[in-house]
């Protein structure tokens, strides 16, 4: 028994982490008794049948997806380039660069969001879609660099040396050996960026002006009364993410086999 208490405690903590997910899934089938009620009242399938029921919620979801795609694309490209510089080259200013990568991860979001707002206001930049994209790229880049760098550090340098020994040119080695080997790291970084951007509230709240992303919509709705369809979106997001993870695992296993 004593050997097992760690495992049992661990599983209980994991259950605690999952509790709200079950609640969100259950509430997605709820017909609330009033707009401001958070309690389960009556079972219904209406929310799933009509997920875009509440006015502009799906617009907000669409806008969040657009922003997350753009931010992910830019952050992944910029972050991957920087990861290559840090993992493959020695140069003056390495430590300063590492600090610049680390700092955004160690700064409270409210400080980053408010300082960016101070800059935009001082510079007379009008807030909206593009200021949100700029902000999201800023906080995603660090995570991309760290993720891709970790993958690059784990690569066996002998594979590239072997390619060169077999008369592959530098570019050929890069395209046919290095890039495919780093690709899983880049994909992971892109997925991480997407979910960070899609879910961001605090920094977005400071820099969005009148642009409403999905988290901004939920925040606003929390004051006026949450439509149950919000939980449909929450549950759907969860299921899609699980699917992506499972698919990734299957692809990995196939490759390994």
């Amino acid at each position: 028994m004593r050997r097992h208490w760690v495992l049992v405690t661990g599983l209980l903590v994991l259950l605690y982490l999952f509790l709200p997910i079950f609640v969100v899934a259950a509430l997605s089938f709820n017909e609330p008794s009033s707009r401001l009620s958070y309690d389960f009242h009556r079972f219904t399938l209406d929310n799933w049948a009509n997920p875009c029921g509440p006015g502009d919620m799906c617009d907000a979801v669409g806008r969040s997806i657009e922003i997350a795609l753009l931010a992910t694309l830019i952050a992944t490209v910029l972050g991957t380039l920087m990861a290559f510089a840090l993992a493959r080259h020695r140069f003056r200013g390495r430590d300063a660069t590492n600090l610049l990568i680390f700092m955004p991860m160690a700064t409270p979001e409210v400080v980053m969001g408010s300082s960016l707002l101070a800059l935009f206001v001082a510079g007379g930049v009008s807030l909206g879609f593009w200021t949100v994209v700029v902000a999201h790229v800023m906080f995603c880049v660090s995570f991309v660099v760290v993720t891709v760098k970790a993958r690059l550090a784990g690569l066996d340098p002998r594979l590239e040396e072997a390619a060169m020994d077999l008369y592959a040119g530098e570019w050929q080695t890069f395209y046919r050996i290095t890039l495919p080997l780093v690709a899983p790291g880049i994909v992971a970084a892109a997925l991480l960026s997407f979910s960070l951007s899609f879910d961001d509230f605090i920094i977005t709240n400071f820099n969005s002006g009148t642009t409403v992303t999905f988290p901004m919509y939920v925040w606003g709705a929390a004051q006026r009364g949450i439509p149950p369809q919000v939980n449909v979106i929450g549950t759907a997001m969860f299921l899609i993410a699980v699917l992506i993870v499972v698919a990734g695992e299957i692809i990995n296993r196939r490759r390994a086999a």
């Binding site: 661990g10 997910i21 510089a85 610049l100 409270p108 800059l119 760290v146």
Partner: protein
């Protein structure tokens, strides 16, 4: 996915890459775009935040602010909101301690007891992130609700205070913080416990150390990098968070983030808001610096 990120962050000194000959400009070209982006939209804003915090406090957004080097904004802001600061630090410290107590057994179980279920459990730790932060926090509003089974059970056991509520109390806010930042504690702990050589534990046992003293003398010291990284990754966002205080608490539980948010976006008192934000940054950096110094794990930075 973030496992890799955080795992890499906790690693000790990275191996220096080999020096490549020729083309010394290449690394600079590679890091220029991201470096510029971070300088322009992370570093420069902090400078502007510092400048804004010294603007003339009698100005307004419509009439414009004059730069008057008003250092008086700082004592004024601190005096008005010192309790919010202390509350933020207190809530974040308690939440971090609870995260450590909950996260350690989970991280240990995944690293050394899970066998072939390891990856599944790791995905389980980050799975809550698959739904939105706000939606998860709102779900706690349902769980802690006055009419919910949890509150009912606690009332029957007479474990609740005079008003018999959980929601809208400091407990609810701290619980929300614990919940939302627990994965940030578990992942670095896991990364560091995973590297723990089981033979060291066997050796301790062979030398007649009981499980308790093995833990204190071997396991815990060897996992210190994970403990430090985990507490920082939990404490920093928890101090600045205001979503939990807003959704699960009342204005009596407001943290410094709530004040900064409303000073910038509702009251439009930019100099004061900037001063508060800058102070928060300074306090967090100070705490991080002292903590890392004292725990003797500078290399994680």
């Amino acid at each position: 996915m973030s496992v890799a990120a955080i795992g890499a962050g906790t690693g000790s000194k990275q191996n220096e890459p080999p020096q490549k000959t020729g083309r010394a400009w290449l690394p600079y070209l590679l890091l220029l775009p991201a470096g510029l982006w971070l300088l322009l939209f992370f570093a420069l804003p902090l400078v502007q935040l510092g400048a804004t915090s010294l603007y003339d406090p009698t100005g307004s957004l419509s009439t414009g602010y004059a730069m008057t080097w008003s250092f008086g904004n700082y004592p004024e802001a601190l005096d008005a909101y010192k309790w919010h600061f202390l509350r933020s630090l207190g809530y974040a410290a308690v939440a971090t301690a609870i995260c450590l107590l909950l996260g350690y057994p989970l991280a240990y179980a995944i690293a050394h007891r899970a066998g072939r279920w390891k990856n599944v459990l790791l995905v389980g730790v980050i799975a809550p992130f698959f739904t939105s932060f706000l939606i998860r926090t709102l779900a706690w509003k349902t769980i802690l609700s006055d009419n919910g089974p949890l509150v009912e059970a606690l009332r029957t056991l007479h474990l609740l205070g005079a008003d018999g509520r959980l929601l809208a109390t400091p407990t609810a806010v701290i619980m929300g913080l614990v919940y939302n930042f627990l994965p940030f504690m578990v992942l670095p702990l896991y990364a560091s416990l995973e590297r723990l050589d089981q033979r060291l534990l066997e050796a301790a046992g062979d030398l007649y150390a009981g499980p308790v003293s093995t833990f204190w003398k071997v396991t815990l010291p060897l996992s210190m990098p994970g403990v430090v990284a985990g507490t920082l990754l939990t404490f920093i966002p928890a101090t600045g968070d205001y979503i939990n205080a807003e959704l699960l608490g009342t204005p009596r539980e407001y943290m410094i983030g709530n004040v900064i948010d409303s000073a910038f976006l509702v009251r439009l008192d930019y100099p004061q808001a900037a001063a508060l934000s800058f102070l928060l940054m300074a306090v967090v950096l100070l705490v991080v610096f002292v903590y890392v110094r004292r725990s003797g794990t500078e290399e994680i930075l």
